[in-house]
Symmetry: C2
Subunit: 326 residues, 2 copies
């Protein structure tokens, strides 16, 4: 066993022992998942981790096999009213607009510059292609990373007045910590852009940059001052949604994960692939808290049916999250 | 600092101290890189690792940035007279031949079944497509992995009479160990098939399966007993050679490596991308030992010119490897 695992096992074992000895007392300060309600969901997650790390349990998994995959938007971070990456796109378009006077009359740029959210919502993803080509391509990967970093530092969500990096779910951060402490390797598997999400991976989620599996744009190499730089090109190379999430997990990780967390129909194949057999856990986050977050499930209809049929764990923000944000 | 790094630093520091105190004595048993000759190449590698892990050195790199990339065929494992994966392909074709009587008359299958190596060499990579489609597709990823594992356990190299997994370069295994002990994350970046090389990654190189970046075939999901399985399809999805090695390193790892090791022109862009700036090291393995390995550099002409121009470290199997195989 690795040191990290030993540490995790002993913390969890100590807590379970304490919890068992003093079931009516409040949980000790070191209890895992403190921002979770003491609900069936939390109990099931802790039971899963306890089984995975108990060599005498039928649910035990060797440390090498402890792979967990998390969707990003709506699973780790608030995705309403607009995806964070869309806000970034819009900010880039506004910043680049003075160099492109034609954009004032040309959709989808006009819609972005005029704040015509209704037009953008009606077009949905079809509006995104030209915006991505204009705002996320024809610059070096290094320059793009710096743009994302600057945006994340400066931008604020209008409803909550917080940086987007603080509109992540504290209970999920604690779940990632618990998994890391128990020798899991955690991957973020997102339909969003790999390089956009990657800028949040280490500072916000403590997930190494190389453990982000997302959508990618085309790229080429260009010599800059005698050294090759990755140069972003227009056009999608890989769209990491639906079945591609499962296929890319296989291709990139080379193991079937034992824990998967998602929130929309785009995560269904990933959850089926990773979290639907013995010794695995599939978790579906349900957005049902209008006061502290948002209420919606229009993009999770199929998912909720399958989750109920298969006995997956549905986590309710209203019912299972004691605290929502850090 | 992580425990692994502390351990590595202290071992290396202790050894450097010992080496400094007793320069004329034989190296102690715990000296790093014991299968390397005590040559300039070894000294340069140890100096690089010492600088990277010394916080007061201009060459220091934070643990998160300690990324090393190794080519596979010819860099970690013998690639002559035939790539190991080609031997696997041929073995699969021979095993499947009874179900395909037409293959006896149909090239490239005929050439494989007749052992017509001259024909296969003359065709080169162009012969590989139909063989790969026939022998590496239309089965589950899980079944493919099992086929590779069985092949690696049973097959023997005719010249050395050893399993291919023991025709890896002991000095490179020691370099990987040294890097791991100093908190590097080591990736194998190969033109070979990701899933083929992956079967060697953990048992042979101690590199986690998810740190193999290689070429891939197409794939789809297929329900088997009610659970989705990855099903390999005919056709190349990604060919990881030349500039794609650099692009895929960027896309997959999200950092520019500081150490890169290769041996052929197909590694040139990777070496330029990763190992050609301040604080980095590019290593080129030169095959110049007919007695213990092979002598060739027909596929490394450009590489050897650039390596000399740029002052990269050329490692000679004849001159720098005290011992070649485990």
């Amino acid at each position: 066993m690795r040191p990290a695992e030993l540490r995790g096992v002993s913390v969890l074992a100590a807590w379970l022992l304490l919890a068992g000895c003093a079931a009516t007392s409040p949980a000790p300060a070191t209890a895992p998942l403190p921002s979770w309600q003491d609900s069936a969901a939390r109990t099931r997650i802790l039971g899963f981790v306890a089984a995975v790390t108990d060599a005498s349990s039928p649910g035990w998994a060797a440390p090498a096999d402890r792979i967990a995959v998390f969707d990003h938007d709506g699973t780790l971070i608030v995705e309403k009213p607009t995806l964070v990456q869309e806000e970034f796109l819009y900010a880039r378009v506004r910043a680049l607009a003075p160099e492109h006077p034609d954009w004032q009359q040309q959709d989808p740029f006009r819609a972005v510059l005029a704040g015509d959210q209704a037009w953008l919502e009606a077009r949905g993803r079809r509006a995104m292609g030209p915006l991505m080509d204009a705002a996320q391509a024809d610059l070096s990967q290094q320059a793009f990373d710096a743009e994302v970093e600057a945006f994340l530092a400066a931008a604020r969500d209008p409803r909550f007045g917080r940086p987007y990096t603080q509109l992540v779910y504290q209970p999920m951060l604690e779940l990632i910590d618990l998994l890391h402490a128990n020798a899991f390797r955690v991957f973020i598997v997102t339909g969003g852009g790999t390089e956009f999400v990657r800028e949040m991976a280490e500072p916000v989620y403590d997930v190494p940059r190389e453990r982000v599996i997302g959508s990618t744009m085309k790229a080429t190499l260009r010599d800059v001052d005698g050294r090759p730089e990755v140069w972003r090109q227009p056009g999608i190379r890989d769209l990491n949604v639906g079945r591609f999430k499962a296929l890319n997990i296989s291709s990139r990780i080379g193991r079937r994960p034992i824990l998967a967390v998602g929130n929309s129909d785009g995560d269904l194949e990933m959850l089926r692939f990773a979290g639907d057999g013995p010794g695995t856990l599939a978790i579906v986050l349900h957005h049902d808290d209008a006061e502290r977050e948002y209420v919606y499930d229009d993009d999770a209809r199929r998912l909720r049916v399958v989750a109920a049929e298969r006995g997956w764990l549905t986590v309710s923000i209203a019912g299972d999250f004691r605290q929502v944000y850090p």
